[in-house]
Amino acid sequence: MARPAAVLDLDPATVRTARRLAARVAKPIVRLAKDHTTVSVERATLRLAGLTGADPDGTPWPNRLVDTVRADVGIEHGVALPVWDALVRGEAGDLTELAGKASVGSVRFRLPTGRDRIRARAAAKKAVGAGVRQLDASRRQRERLVRKWGDPPRQPWIYLIVATGDIYEDIPQAQAAAREGADVIAVIRSTGQSLLDFVPEGATREGYAGTYATQENFRLMRAALDESSAELGRYVRLTNYASGLCMPEIAALAGLQRLDMMLNDSMYGILFRDINPIRTFVDQRFSRQVHARAGIIINTGEDNYLTTADAVEEAHTVTVSQLLNESFAKEAGLADWQLGLGHAFEIDPDIPQSFRLELAHAMLARQLFPDAPLKWMPPTRHMTGDVFRGYLLDGFFNLAGALTGQGILLVGMMTEAVVTPWLSDRDLALQNVRYVLDACGGLAEDFRPPPDGFIATRARQVLAESIELLEAILDHENGLLDAIADGTFGLMRRPADGGRGLEGVVQRAADYLNPASDLLEATQ
């Protein structure tokens, strides 16, 4: 992506301060993430080693196996040693067979020592290493296909959502959207999948307001979009959602099936889904390491802040979250081009100068993260069901995106808050985007707000408030964890010992072994 020119008069020292503060906030959290493992991290490791499928009740084999190992020897040492020790001992021919036997109690796991440990470690490393090489292969294949078919001809990339609940309905809709000009297709997940502590199996045809994220659904949709890419002569990207209790596993499946972007926010699960903070941070780090290795662009979830809080008063919480997301992401090995930091057009249109305020916020993000492909999210909160007014608002949203050089533009639907998008809604929305980009796609180069004008002043104010908030977080005894616990972010108080998924978090023992973590750490 071409580096945008710096047009706001921001003090470079202030920007450096903001980044330094974010890094200080992130540091103890990273230490925490390195000290713990979770059931989902362990299951992801098994998935990288090729374990798929589910028992007749639909419980995935990775869950079965991890639960059994945990009951026998705990997971604080990692499941790799006991699992591959059992395989080396000849308890089963492969992981699936082992999981089957484990689930009926005919295998007992132990923690191998001495030569047994060395043999188990070597076997685990080999099996998991094959999965990591598969991530590498997917990444190379994407690079090859992008060279062959090409990137979208212009920016921002046009991002469209499909969400029928049935993967076989999603596919023609996604292909139609690609034909109409979508560069990125996101398949919205079934409501509440983020709270499932397992990844469903197989192709699915029923969901609640969305389609389940499964390995098979990923594969089917990627194959369909490869067809479309070949037909259209540009590589159409595929997005899904890692957030939730299964971040590491979904990240691994996305990497294996060559998804191109993943929603992955550092705090969304904590604040909006009441997932335990430690669980979230541990899972997030592992999942981002997988994304880094797989060449996946992450999309962060700052738009969520603005759907709950006032988009003017709380604008700085978006900036703070972007800075934290950047800090965590860099630590996990993601490069700038992989950071689709989120922000949204959610200011009440009845507020005077609302569009200028939107421009100020969008330009601030653009300038703070010049090498990141920012993800620009359309209005939802002030979409009322008046589809005509909504269409106008979406036009202004598109204009702000063009004017401020956003990297990824999520196409707004005029029927937001009325129905899940119809075929015609998507087509009309894309006409709206195309009109704006054709009419003034290069307007950014003509647009230089005066340094002491409304926009530049507002941007500086938001940055200053962001620094204050970061300092307030650091004033807490336990930094970010305490800040999350006392409701510093919005109304939600999320204590570190509360929330969903805490029972799946374990402090690592001194002899913890996870070949996936070892290989992924080495990536950096």
């Binding site: 139609a176 709950t308 939802t380 075929l423």
Partner: protein, 254 residues
Amino acid sequence: MSGRVVRPYGDTTGDGMVQLSFTLPVPHGKLAEGAALQLAGRMGMEPALVAHSKPMGPDFTFFVVYGRVNHLVNLDEVRVLERDYPLLTPKEANQAIRRGLGRRLTVIGACIGTDAHTVGIDAILNVKGFAGEKGLEYYRELRVLNLGAQVSVPQLVARAHSDQADAVLVSQVVTQRDAHLHNTVEMSAAFREAFPTGQQPVLVVGGPRFDEQMADALGVDRVFARGTTPGEVASFLVHALVTSKAAHGGRKTA
């Protein structure tokens, strides 16, 4: 003809003009336009004018049609099923609670029985919410305790006691052998037994297969069916616990 009769208004009284947009699964062309006119005619638009038609991919055509409808509406025959409580925004709900009660309302939510589907209760309670509305956790004046799935009735009653719940929300998604109905009846009976008359929390049950008319039969105060949004639930709670408190006489806050 009796009563007040109206027709749609374009720019002249009684002109009956409407606009309509839709998509047909027919490739763009004469046939598609003819099909659109036929549809408009059958919908009572006569004459109809296809103002705009545009291909949406190779197999679909989008239309904007203007026309005059020949239907009449008699206002005296319009029957409206009014919601018996007003819909409030989160801000209005918070204000009503603050003013009317002077303390936060405690709401306990759970899936009872073996039902592990928390999708419904989470959509109503999680901040993330549903259908563009924030969940009850977002309401400053609501203290929300989401007990999650597979909560037993005795556990639920005990928590309602210990946390002095004003309202208990129960979600039931699984409906095999009418499990949702049996569970609800068992739950409401347990609350009646455990709390003195007039002291029990407001009981609300919801799920995709419930019939909203069944509240009395199930022994609960309200039943919510498919598509209910958090705002509707919050508005009902405010109505039941604050606004119409007089009707409930001896509630514990009185």
